[in-house]
Symmetry: C2
Subunit: 216 residues, 2 copies
């Protein structure tokens, strides 16, 4: 079985067994026109993913081909402020009146007429995650960089939660996938995922209390 | 035969029949770490392409995994100023001291220690192509946007040629691929490619004369 078939089978399995979960294809597509249209078809039809990550560097033409699928409830996740260190010089430049990542956030907020957009905002830049939150209201944010990359979970929640104390999809990949090895790998990955979930919920509750106190 | 096998066979055919031609995979990859390393391996090993296009939005970490292959003569083509209209707001913003596409050009010129980089600079923005040329010296530029997209060939050559009256890879895709149909398609595509080549060479000669006159 080829890798493409494995991926299609995995997504089909998740949909069958866990119908409330969304499948997000982190393909980071960044093309326009007919190529982008094929990428959209591949993500939403071939793999039946619920959402796909796209790169904004080519502008709106690289987003447009995905829009027709949002009528069927599909989502688009735009790279905004990525978690890796050398993204600074392009996404966040000191000389700028408005850094590129903020322009991306504002643009995507304008495009978000159907509530089908998310933004990638890395856990390694929690203050900037707060800036994005202020620009996009309750749009959900996809947050990589927790776990292997060392992002600060408490800071992410403090800056990133929306006014309903939610709106963050916090992604730990290597920290969960490689939590164990051999026979134990599934149990170890399950435990790592639950542990991260519990940490998030403890911090959310602390955050609620702080919000409550600061409102008094 | 799957599409992947078709592509691998096409590139192998070009290498066997036309060994002096380079095969450039326009995959517009934009990921980091192990994913980018697999993309590099796919482009250079699986498909045996000579060069591959990459998106700079994630910074140097999205380029690094391609660099080891440049020791074997492989090339990297970085998206800089793309030819589609809505790339303006991110690549070229009026408020900027230094637009993003110029930052990309300057960065890539620094990375170009082995002469293995090119930049994508669209034919639809010939003046900006000239700005990029001034920033990167004799680095070859890949220029889409001639043909179906309506770029001005004479302006491209005037602004984009290097000091040796060369250094431009002018790409017309739909204008050549769809020049004819049915039985005639190969002959029509061949004629369209030769016609474009001849137009380019006439304009290069005009340009040489102008340069010669202006030096007097």
């Amino acid at each position: 079985m080829g890798r493409e078939q494995e991926l299609a089978r995995l997504i089909a399995y998740i949909k069958a067994e866990y119908p409330a979960h969304i499948s997000l294809l982190d393909a980071k597509r960044g093309d326009i026109g007919s190529t982008a249209a094929y990428y959209a078809r591949e993500a939403y039809e071939r793999y039946a993913a619920d959402a796909v990550t796209v790169n904004p560097y080519l502008g709106k033409e690289s987003i447009d081909p995905y829009l027709p699928y949002t009528e069927d409830g599909k989502g688009i996740v735009v790279l905004c402020r990525t978690s890796n260190p050398d993204s600074d010089w392009i996404q966040q430049r000191a000389e700028d009146a408005t850094p590129v990542y903020q322009q991306v956030a504002s643009r995507v907020a304008q495009w978000n007429t159907r509530g089908q957009f998310m933004l990638v905002t890395g856990a390694t830049y929690p203050e900037e995650l707060g800036v994005v939150r202020a620009l996009v209201g309750d749009m959900p944010l996809l947050v990589p960089g927790i776990g292997a990359q060392g992002g600060d979970l408490a800071a992410v929640l403090r800056h990133g939660l929306d006014r309903h104390q939610t709106g963050l999809l916090i992604s730990s990949s290597r920290g969960i996938i490689y939590a164990g090895a051999g026979e134990e790998f599934a149990a170890a990955s399950g435990a790592a995922a639950k542990d991260l979930r519990d940490q998030i919920n403890v911090l959310r509750n602390d955050n609620k209390k702080t919000s409550y106190l600061s409102e008094k």
